[in-house]
Symmetry: C2
Subunit: 213 residues, 2 copies
Amino acid sequence: MSEVKRPKDQLKAHIRAQNQTLILETSERVFARQGLAKTTTQMIADEAGLPKANVHYYYRSKKDLLEAVLERILRLWLDSVSEFNVEEGPRHNLTRYISEKIDQSRTNKNASKIFAMALIGEESFVLDYLRSLFVTELSREKATIQIWVDQGLMQPVSTEHLFISIWAMTQTYADFDAQVKIMLQKDNLEEIDYEDAKLFITRMVLAGCGVTE
Amino acid sequence: MSEVKRPKDQLKAHIRAQNQTLILETSERVFARQGLAKTTTQMIADEAGLPKANVHYYYRSKKDLLEAVLERILRLWLDSVSEFNVEEGPRHNLTRYISEKIDQSRTNKNASKIFAMALIGEESFVLDYLRSLFVTELSREKATIQIWVDQGLMQPVSTEHLFISIWAMTQTYADFDAQVKIMLQKDNLEEIDYEDAKLFITRMVLAGCGVTE
DNA sequence: GTCTATACCTGGATAGAC
DNA sequence: GTCTATCCAGGTATAGAC
């Protein structure tokens, strides 16, 4: 009722925020490790050092919790990749975009896997999110690429298939890292492997798009 | 005990083979649709028109059943893609390889999804299979590509990253078809979409590898 | 080889004391 | 806000009649 928060309310709000963050971060790890369906609220509670009922206090159902985790991931996802900057031209932009996507795969492997699992399982929450996102985002990228094509800086390409390919190639190093490790015959992926991936993918994309500048 | 099968044994063997096939084909659909963990033996039994106990009679546990499904998929997987033919050169071989992989994604979408789900979940069965496969397969492809490089038909590339990229790009049209549909703003992927994908991916790969012939 | 009935267990979710 | 105890649904797997 009161407009001004009293100390007690602030304390409560603090505890709430702290616990929610703990639960979300723990969930992200467990979901990524165990898979969405195999994960139990008990596992999350144990790993967070909380009783199970406590988890259900903050997130009524497992579905609610998963959606909160997904929302957190998707927001972070967007913030960590730069938008295209027309003036800098295709070479610079595409190179940076690929580099940032690979870095994202590396530093947020769990997030990437959860996203992939939700997508393959066609979780409506994620599909709705993508639908609302793509209409705005993609049309802008499309316009930018058209400008570069008109300027003769690159050849005309299908923006849709270009992005589908870039996402597929960069995310595979996070989502299917088990396969990548087997291919490279390594127990763990290192800095050099990610750099090799960047170089290879960038080379293919730039050559495939006929980027001149 | 007897070396020669009697009619009754043959009949039994027939029934067994027929039921196993029915169960495996049904499982493939259900696993792909519901996800590995969410799928219950009850669902499979219902969709196959069999009592649940019957499913457990042929496949003692759900794990056994999943492994049988995976084995079936992986065998089919290998058979449907041609090996490289040195004499025909890189352009022809890579173009065909990509085309066949896309066709595979299209005609065996369920198989591809199950494989992807097992891989992302790091199912040891699949990892072991890949490990034993890659050592033999990849080294041969690597040798072939080296020959083409020596002949000046293409530039030197990392065979590992090349295959990782091709697999990622082609499989994404099966595994993450929900995302692709949103991107292309279509309710269903058609012939033309797969052909566009083939053209785009082939163009990138050939250009990226500097294929001349 | 088939199928009903059931044992046994695990998981999600909540009531209610603190 | 915390946590113990518990309910109940649904899952795997099998025993045993046919």
